[in-house]
Amino acid sequence: MNPPDPDLAAAELKAMQDSIYREKILRARRQTPEERLADVFELTNSVFTRMHEGAMWQAGISDERQGWDIVRKRLARLRQVYDAGRFVNHLPAALQ
């Protein structure tokens, strides 16, 4: 049996990615701006609930407050990565 052709595999993967993205675009186009904005609210509440449930399950705890503390720490780490080098506490002297 011949080994898989890497170029063909990459092309198939790209076609699949484009197809998934295309469906997302077309779905969003069918929505009104208000419906899309409503989705942001709904998705956000849902994702936080899932993060909380996941943290409690992973830590094996039933205390909801503890679960939110874990979520908070994880989000803080994510923000550190996302904002790295983007913010400083003071303006440069030349701009003050």
Binding site: D18, R22, I25, A28, E34, V40, T44, V88
Partner: protein, 188 residues
Amino acid sequence: MTIEQLATAVLDACEKEGVHHMLTGAFAHGLYGIPRSTKDVDVVLSVASGNPIERVVRRLEGVVQFEQQVKFDTLTWGKRLVGESTGMPPFKIALFELFDDPFVQSQFQRRRRMFSTQIQRETWLPTPEDVVVQKLRWGRSKDLDDARDVLAVQGPETLDMPYIEKWCALHGTVPRLLEALAGIPPLD
């Protein structure tokens, strides 16, 4: 607390203080692009009424715990203060002070009013063109995806592309714009 309740509290604080404002971040992107979840409520505040951040922070006492110190972004040197909702979940809120950057000024002047059924309030949001320019300017991976989403969902043919191209040329982000446009798959 839900993200709707937090957004409502922030917008009410702005209204009561008479601070002109504009929702940005994922809410602006979601309005024109592919909706996604967010971790924070981002709001730009006009400085026309004086000390907007202090006044909005005071109004949100008990609802949001803010950091002690404002920070400055290293791209435009705009001022930002971050807080976290006191109730659970721990949503973040970021207050940005409007400043004299020509694009930021233009974006704020062009903002549009819309009614959100979720929060039962009118709010102000940037135009799709300004969301694209801002996201390309920030240039983090998620920002670039967001810019491409807005271009794809709105369609370049419906957008004021000369306006977008003008700001991208000034910001040196034309290559990012071209890459975003090239990333839109055929839709027919």
